[in-house]
Amino acid sequence: MIVRIMGEGQVELGDDHVAELDKLDDELLAEMEGGDGEGFRRTLSALLDKVRELGTPLPDDVLEPSELILPAADATLEEVRRMLSDDGLIPG
């Protein structure tokens, strides 16, 4: 599947890696909802590292719809929370 790391680009990941990432992803969500900024940053960094490690970057001239999307490496808890609010990523 195609995963986008916002601000970096897209990588292709084998489906067998998804379960491995799911654990970190759920952890990240819990930290975000619990307002644990430090934990959020640490887990996000670990998740991104894992995606980069397991995935193959897509060439720049290829644009594929992404199935999963990750916040940029420097995104703050507040920014991500805003993106996931009712308005979503695109207002309206």
Partner: protein, 265 residues
């Protein structure tokens, strides 16, 4: 509960799917529309060429008929000079029939000339429209491609994904479709306004009664012509003693040319 990356992906997709149909590339739509317009233009041009060809053919026929008519008149004159009134009558009768064909052809010629002018004008105007569309199409395509590139650049800086830019593409596509429809409607309007789509089959059709009337009036013309020639001969010197073999009945038995209708190819 799903994690952050799944939720973000879901939000992106929900937003993007609302706004776009991924199967269609607006650049391809524009190129296809331009191709269709070129085909239409080709058809109009072929129409102009067909009409011009028919007009030239009519001109040739007219010249031929006028030549024959002059020859018959000359033969009638000579026959009368030799006292062969019957022969003169025959020659003038044939000439009257030819003259009728000539005037029919002249009407057709005039109509064709008018059609040709209208079609030429329509083709020129259509050409201008197609040219304008091509320019606009290339501009839109360039803008589209630039927007795509820009999206990628912006994405790498600010984290905006292509899923977002798709909203903008949907708007672009809607604009392109509008332009395409306008161009097509414009082209058809041109053709209708110019009369290029009119049926030309009504040229010169005649019923039997009209034909009979024409024949009768042709006979009257012969009598008048005969009288005129007699008066001419009575008045002037009739020293034309040349043989009139060309005017003998045997030589005059050429079948009359009856094909005078414009035959569309």
């Amino acid at each position: 509960m799903s994690g952050v990356m799944k939720r973000m992906g879901m939000i992106f997709r929900a937003k993007a799917n609302k706004a776009l149909d991924r199967a269609e590339d607006p650049r391809e739509t524009l190129d296809y529309s331009y191709q269709k317009q070129l085909e239409l233009l080709q058809k109009v041009r072929r129409g102009v060429a067909d009409v011009a060809t028919s007009r030239k053919r009519l001109e040739l026929q007219l010249n031929q008929l006028q030549g024959q008519s002059a020859k018959l008149e000359d033969q009638g004159r000579k026959a009368l000079a030799l006292g062969r009134e019957d022969l003169a009558r025959e020659a003038l009768s044939r000439r009257a029939s030819l003259q009728q064909q000539v005037s029919d052809l002249e009407v057709q010629h005039q109509t064709l000339q008018g059609e040709e002018e209208k079609l030429t004008l329509a083709a020129q105007r259509l050409q201008a429209k197609v040219d304008a569309f091509r320019t606009k199409k290339e501009t839109i395509k360039a803008t589209y491609t630039a927007a795509q590139a820009q999206t990628r650049i912006a994405e790498s800086f600010s984290g905006i994904s292509e899923e977002m830019s798709d909203v903008g593409l949907a708007i672009q596509r809607a604009e392109d479709k509008t332009a395409q429809l306008q161009a097509r409607a414009g082209a058809i309007d041109e053709l209708l306004a110019s009369g290029a789509l009119d049926d030309q089959s009504g040229l010169g059709s005649k019923d039997d009664i009209q034909a009979e009337l024409d024949r009768l009036s042709g006979g009257t013309d012969v009598e008048l012509e005969l009288a005129r020639m007699k008066a001419e001969l009575a008045g002037g010197p009739s020293a034309q003693q040349q043989a009139i073999e060309g005017g003998t009945p045997g030589a005059q038995q050429q079948p009359q040319q009856t094909q005078h209708r414009f035959d569309k190819q």
